[in-house]
Symmetry: C2
Subunit: 316 residues, 2 copies
Amino acid sequence: MNWEGFPERVHIQEVVTRDGLQIEPRFLPTQEKIALIDALSLTGVSKIEVTSFVSPRAVPNLADAREVAGAIKRRPGVTYVALVPNLRGAQEALAANMDELNLVMSVSETHNLANMRMTPAQSLEAFRTIVDAARGTPAALNGSIATAFGCPFEGIQPEDKVLRLAEAYLALGLDSVTLADTTGMGNPRQVASLVGAFRRRFGSVPLTLHFHNTRGMGLANVLAALDAGADRFDASLGGLGGCPFAPGATGNISTEDLVHMLDEMGVATGVDLGRLIELARGLPALLGHDIPGQVAKAGRSGDLHPAPADIRLAAK
Amino acid sequence: MNWEGFPERVHIQEVVTRDGLQIEPRFLPTQEKIALIDALSLTGVSKIEVTSFVSPRAVPNLADAREVAGAIKRRPGVTYVALVPNLRGAQEALAANMDELNLVMSVSETHNLANMRMTPAQSLEAFRTIVDAARGTPAALNGSIATAFGCPFEGIQPEDKVLRLAEAYLALGLDSVTLADTTGMGNPRQVASLVGAFRRRFGSVPLTLHFHNTRGMGLANVLAALDAGADRFDASLGGLGGCPFAPGATGNISTEDLVHMLDEMGVATGVDLGRLIELARGLPALLGHDIPGQVAKAGRSGDLHPAPADIRLAAK
């Protein structure tokens, strides 16, 4: 491990109100979403994926995308992102003046058909129309590659197939790329290999890693990615999230667990972990259930406890 | 990360019936413990920490230590271990013909007083009497250093203090050392540093890493330890466990999640992951509650799912 070569600053990108909420059993009221995003804006995260401009039939929990995007307080220095599944969603996101549009398709044909209801060629064609629509606007365009570390239907995807899709994204004019482990299938060695290959092929093109903790490897994958030169990570407050089309999947990596690990290793994020933990601790009351994130329960490593009283006596 | 330098074979040491069960709210019947240990003996794990010969008042769940140790089927190639807190426990473990005695104290004075009710000097003196008692028997002696990566009362312990305690263990005649992250406070960078320092100071003295996943860093710590040359890990089926004196702590790292990650990275363990997962999936019925381990719920990365039927039609 090349600890000295770790990035000086890691960007934390919060996705809880999009990826985290989309599969929640209960609809989180619009005002609560807005309040949560406004609070997250004050934590020091680099990006917030606010919502998705998706059909309310497909994702009822995000049916209020327009209201949410229109009402949040935009804090300078934070990039506000919307996931867009198609041209119509992109038009809405542009109308809502989002800083960035996150376009997504799966490298796995089967997952793309299941998740996007499009063939990969249809998805790329939709991307092209979105690039055209965004031309001349200030919006940045990020392209996400879902199932980049494995598809629950097809299995591991060849590295070169993933890289060729990233190449197609960049050829279309997208600004940056996210490699997403949509259903938490990636392992650290695979992550290091793909991140290294991406860096060799695409140099300094901004790269985000989007990990899920489905099989407990989330933070180990972060460590491997850091070692391979990654410096941007998506994460979800409390570890909420998952993919509605990924059987058995649990949550995204938890933002507060991620920032805690980076803090403990001395890797700067600019994020106020105390505020994050406070917000994560408020989630069970908002959602009506426990959260997978662990630091919100256990506290930071540095949160010491008083020694038992009888011990203090015995030690005298 | 030096992937090529990873150990060719990693030893998996199962602690569920000791560390996993000691804080369970319900007593697991003796016959169930024996059946679980006998099943674990067939999975390919290198060691099984069978029980602890501890006062039944201190750990009621392990009050049947003698019956369990006497009734399990000893499988050649598996080392059967008992944790012993003092000379009396050691005498019982020797009488039970255990392959290995695991002696434990904390590097943190406060935690040792809270957990063992002894000062460090008293603990080391007890170790000496155990070494004397074991002399001439075939039992191996392992020394565990609890709170090696941080104490919930005192905080991070200086690396040199940990190494000096390991040195004292070896000077007393112990055969091997475990560095235990008793309450899950360690981070990957710290783990790499301490494992590296241990290796430099003590060469090939067998070293076990005992991690808890209290703050989500368990498998990331394993990765860092592997990279620093560790090849023996304690883990607990289902991720059961914790420390009764560590406020807020959740579980040990999950054996099946650990073996799954190693399998996925191509690191050999000799363990049959399928059997482990089956056993982990049986735990909720045995214990009456859900388990923290994730692979038992999500399945392996390679367990693929059939594509939705309507998608298979659309793809034609």
